[in-house]
């Protein structure tokens, strides 16, 4: 009996692999990269899309709570027009050129800290200015009227603008929890990695805050690598 099951498993594993690879023969593989198909050669070969890929440091819930200045529940009011990160909001020469978008969120509940206003801006590094699109796999998308729980902090990057009022997401995509719109029956909030239960969220955030205090502090960055 065991020998028969092992044989079925082995044969079906090989069959699955062969079938899958066969499906990915050049004629079918075009479907796989449909998203990266070239457009017809009707326009000039001009780069107009910046795609940013990278490694996002994984953060536990305790780290999300401990490293956030503000944790709120609210509703997305508006996605403001995207801008270049430079001081004059224009694409520059010999400077970092990043397209950023401010998401305006109305605060309903506060779990940590004190937001600077009832409506706050959350800045993410993605968007579109003129014909240039900036995509980034580390940031979540936002929709108007979307209910969200956000883990936020002051911008500690070299692009920070201390004279402006806004926050950034703690841990990039990990700092936004929302309902899975494809499954409205699911009341839990997701960030792509962890879940929060709205019924017990307040207590959980307090508990994780205590857990964070017990964590070993990470190695101090040297910078001069």
């Amino acid at each position: 009996m065991k020998k028969r099951i092992a044989t079925i498993l082995a044969v079906s594993t090989v069959a699955g692999a062969l079938g899958y690879l066969a499906w990915f023969t050049p004629s079918h593989s075009e479907q796989v990269i449909a998203a990266v198909q070239p457009k017809p050669e009707t326009q000039q070969d001009k780069p107009d899309k910046m795609v940013v890929h990278g490694i996002v440091p994984s953060k536990t819930k305790a780290e999300l709570v401990g490293e956030s200045d503000v944790i709120i529940r609210g509703k997305v009011k508006e996605l403001l027009p995207s801008k270049w990160s430079n001081p004059n909001w224009e694409r520059g020469q010999d400077v970092s050129n990043v397209i950023q978008t401010d998401i305006l969120v109305h605060v309903n509940d506060i779990f940590k800290g004190k937001p600077y206003d009832k409506d706050i801006a959350v800045r993410i590094d993605k968007g579109k200015v003129d014909n240039m699109t900036w995509e980034s796999d580390g940031y979540p998308d936002f929709l108007p009227e979307e209910n969200v729980v956000l883990f936020l902090r002051q911008d500690n990057s070299d692009l920070a603008k201390p004279q402006e009022n806004y926050y950034i997401l703690t841990g990039m995509f990990q700092g936004k929890f929302s309902q899975d719109l494809k499954h409205p029956e699911d009341i839990l909030l997701h960030n792509g990695k962890d879940v929060l239960d709205p019924a017990t969220m307040s207590e959980e955030i307090s508990k994780e805050g205590e857990n964070y205090k017990k964590l070993l502090k990470p190695t101090e960055p040297k910078g001069n690598i």
């Binding site: 079906s12 910046m50 950034i168």
Partner: protein
């Protein structure tokens, strides 16, 4: 009893097909690859000799993947600290980027060809990095190897052992060496 046997057999078969398909294919693409091979990457002149060596070793990993010479470290270095720069040069930089990517690659993609025409790689030194694989630091060599995969057109893979897997932990050095999944992706693009 017979029904039970059949059920068990079908379930085992489905499990096998599932294992087989996931093992067969995990890599994905972010584009149709780098436009003009080989690509040359320019290191920041302020990098330590160990970091420059790690970059060179990372290039060699991809060049030994079976698709020929794909990416080399240029002898010309730069002194840029801003990132990303659209200057027709693939620059490796470092900077204090705060609570953002650990390391990332910004690829400038042509809409007409869907090929990468420029790619800048940045190391976020707001996080601890080292070349010695020490437990309290992120590994420079392994993560640069990962980013060079993005420069060449690969996306993140679901294979947790592969260089192109999307997360990294402190002390992890396994990304320094390419797994078969990474090679399969690069061979699809360039062979």
């Amino acid at each position: 009893m017979k029904v039970k046997k059949w059920g068990l057999g079908i379930l085992t078969g489905l499990l096998g097909i599932s294992i087989g398909t996931s093992a067969a294919y995990a890599w994905t693409l972010n584009s149709r690859g780098y436009a003009t091979l080989p690509a040359y990457v320019h290191a920041y002149s302020g990098f330590s000799p160990e970091t420059k060596q790690a970059i060179s070793t990372a290039c060699a990993q991809w060049n030994n993947a079976g698709a020929g010479g794909l990416v080399y470290q240029s002898s010309f270095e730069h002194s840029l600290t801003s990132y990303p720069m659209q200057n027709n040069s693939n620059d490796l930089t470092r900077g204090t980027r705060g609570d953002k990517y650990l390391m990332n690659t910004a690829t400038l993609v042509s809409s007409s060809t869907n090929k990468i025409v420029e790619a800048d790689i940045d190391i976020n030194v707001s996080y601890p990095f080292a070349n010695d694989g020490s437990s309290g630091n992120y590994d420079i060599g392994g993560n640069v190897t990962h980013e060079l995969g993005h420069l060449l057109g690969l996306e993140h893979t679901t294979d947790t052992e592969a260089t192109m897997y999307g997360t990294s932990t402190m002390g992890e050095t396994k990304k320094r060496t390419l797994e078969q999944d990474n090679k399969n992706g690069i061979l699809y693009l360039y062979k």
